[in-house]
């Protein structure tokens, strides 16, 4: 059974002017135990809201209006706040984007890590300190003992993000949600932090939901990728297949807009629509080069798409049964080759 099974998740924001904004619309995906899933999309596509909905940390203006969030078989959307408190930090953890501001400036980093143990286990100061120092070692912080008594402002962004990871993984959760954990870091530090996440994910058999708009990082880290656009999931696929042969025109556009040496940059034409007034039919049709009449009228559901002919991707043809199930796209006319249309 999947550790996380999100079914038809819908999140609405009640705006101050009385209107509503659908930030996540009918989204479904699953994450198996020990699996790394990437969630990509541009700013405002609903990635972070999806993460906060799973944690049930949405602000008071936002509501989960439909769908289920099955975590280990139990629906998180139906849990009480007290039940969620026992799950957060213990079974599902989250690492945020901004390491510079995500730590409490009033306490030492050691105290903040050991606090997680004290919050979730009946543990004294001595033991929780010991465990915190062990966590510092696991996230490869040099001199973990000295680190314990230091305050957040004494650390660089990369070190703070390691502390955040130590806090998130302290209780050995089943699922880690990382919301753009390396976006605020420079490239070399980003690589170090990613390798810490990757090592711990493997060691602990952790399921990871990795939210990012950096496609290269996602390609390197993730087993599976879901692509979001305008509050909806457009495509779900094994990550190798997604990058070699995107089935949704939006994914294709995203991949083409990655800068490559010697090749002209091909951005996706147009801009993202206003979420308060989404277009009829397929959300992507105003920007889609292949849009037809049906796309303008009818919203495509996320559905399993037939595998492309074996010749295009010999690597995946061996287990087409397994992967075929997992290739889903919300498009009336999914692409069949590298950018070519059926």
């Amino acid at each position: 059974m999947a550790i996380l099974d999100v079914r038809n998740l819908t999140v609405d924001f009640n705006l101050d002017d009385g209107g509503t904004l659908r930030a996540v619309d009918d989204s479904s995906f699953t994450i198996e135990r020990g699996e790394v899933m990437g969630l990509v999309g541009e700013s405002g596509s609903g990635k972070s809201v999806t993460a906060l909905a799973i944690m049930r940390l949405l602000d008071s203006q936002a509501d989960i209006t439909a769908g289920q969030i099955l975590f280990d078989g139990e629906d998180l959307a139906a849990k009480s706040e007290a039940e969620m408190r026992a799950i957060r930090g213990r079974r599902i953890s989250m690492v945020f984007q901004e390491p510079m501001t995500s730590l409490n400036p009033a306490y030492t980093v050691g105290d903040q890590v050991s606090e997680v143990f004290r919050a979730h286990f009946d543990m004294g100061f001595g033991e929780s300190k010991q465990r915190a120092i062990e966590m510092f070692e696991r996230v490869k912080i040099p001199q973990p003992k000295d680190t314990y008594g230091k305050f957040p402002h004494e650390f660089s962004g990369g070190m703070r993000q390691r502390v955040m990871i130590a806090i998130a993984l302290a209780c050995g959760p089943d699922l880690l949600i990382a919301d753009e954990p390396t976006t605020a870091l420079d490239v070399t530090i980003q690589a170090q932090v990613l390798s810490v996440i990757q090592d711990l994910q493997r060691d602990m058999g952790l399921a990871l939901l990795f939210i990012s708009h950096d496609l290269e990082v996602v390609a390197q880290l993730c087993d599976k990728v879901a692509v979001m656009y305008g509050a909806r999931i457009m495509e779900v696929s094994e990550s190798t297949e997604l990058f070699s042969s995107p089935r949704h025109p939006y994914t294709d556009g995203l991949l083409r807009s990655i800068p490559r040496r010697g090749q002209p940059l091909t951005p996706i034409a147009g801009t993202i629509f206003d979420l308060r007034s989404p277009p009829d039919g397929c959300r992507f049709h105003p920007r889609c080069p292949y849009a037809e009449d049906r796309c303008r009228r009818e919203m495509p559901e996320l559905r399993v798409v037939e595998p492309v002919a074996a010749s295009t991707d010999p690597g995946s043809s061996g287990d087409s049964g397994g992967t075929g199930d997992r290739r889903q796209a919300a498009c009336h006319f999914p692409l069949t080759g590298a950018g070519a249309k059926a």
Binding site: A106, T108, A119, I167
Partner: protein, 306 residues
């Protein structure tokens, strides 16, 4: 050295005032004004504590042989109209003045901070109702309010505490509410919820410690006003009455003798000034430290003079 500090920090849970205390320490170390203010205060507090043991004369014992004498070697600040030693009485008045002011400030903080924190954290109509009540209290002139309260309760230290703190409760409530509103949206507060912290520990561990710094400034500015409030109430005969010694009362008693024995008014006045000065200097330095714009001003001033 750093080893012992780290161990100590880990053994006991850090208090909610830790952040404010760190700031106080930083400011006293780095700012000259704060250094002078803090030294003055430390000196006066020590004098107040050991006062009864260092006072050269009995504060109540009259000596009609030396009525209204100016400063001499044995009575360094002179004597009053029935020959009591002014210096000993001023030391005693210092103890009372600090006691009344400290009590009033502590009460105001202990009541005002939770009210403001609750209002800010709760939000919505609860917040509106509480803060409108606070606005109503703040709209009344503080001194007048204190006079009315003391007149109603009768003069005693407890009544002064209540009367003086009553008007400053809303100031703390407002300050901490603003801080809580600002802190509530911070990432580390969200991160606290993400590790499964309860609303209570989120408030006490994450929100309040980071909202305490302005309260510290308010405390140092609240002290002078509490001290003058006590002095003026006692001056008017509404505060402390004999045999309790108060500077305000001494100033009031000095009035008939201003022409023949001006030291009777000068020395209590100077003592009052010194005490208030200490708090104002420290409070000013703290406020400068908290106001990022004033850092720029100071730097600019230094550049100009260079």
């Amino acid at each position: 050295m750093s080893e012992t500090v780290a161990v100590r920090a880990s053994e006991q849970p850090p208090s909610a005032f830790a952040a404010a205390w760190h700031m106080l320490r930083d400011v006293v170390v780095s700012d000259r004004k704060a250094k002078i203010g803090a030294s003055l205060l430390v000196f006066l507090v020590i004098v107040a504590i050991i006062g009864p043991y260092i006072a050269p004369h009995d504060v109540e014992l009259p000596n009609t042989d030396i009525r209204l004498t100016g400063p001499t070697l044995s009575n360094i600040m002179g004597t009053d109209h029935i020959g009591r030693d002014l210096f000993s009485r001023i030391i005693s008045g210092l103890t009372i003045s600090l006691m009344v002011a400290t009590g009033a400030v502590v009460i105001a903080v202990v009541i005002g901070v939770p009210i403001g924190a609750f209002a800010g954290y709760q939000g919505g109509w609860v917040d509106s109702v509480i803060m409108r009540i606070m606005d109503a209290i703040i709209a009344m002139p503080g001194r007048l309010l204190a006079i009315a309260l003391v007149a109603a309760i009768g003069p005693s230290v407890g009544a002064l505490w209540f009367a003086i703190s009553f008007g400053s409760v809303p100031r703390y409530a407002r300050l901490i509410r603003g801080g809580v509103l600002a802190q509530r949206e911070r990432e580390y507060v969200e991160a606290a919820r993400a590790i499964g912290e309860s609303p209570g520990s989120t408030l006490f561990r994450y929100v309040l410690p980071n909202a305490m710094a302005p309260v510290l400034v308010q405390i140092t500015l609240n002290f002078p006003s509490a001290i003058t409030a006590e002095a003026s109430l006692s001056f008017l005969g509404l505060g402390l009455v004999p045999p309790t010694i108060s500077w305000g009362q001494m100033l009031s008693a000095a009035q008939p003798y201003l022409e023949v024995a001006p030291w009777l008014a000068i020395f209590p006045g100077l003592a009052l000034t010194a005490l208030i000065m200490g708090f104002v200097l420290l409070g000013d330095a703290l406020r400068d430290h908290l106001d990022p714009r004033s850092h720029g001003r100071r730097r600019a001033k230094k550049k100009d003079s260079a």
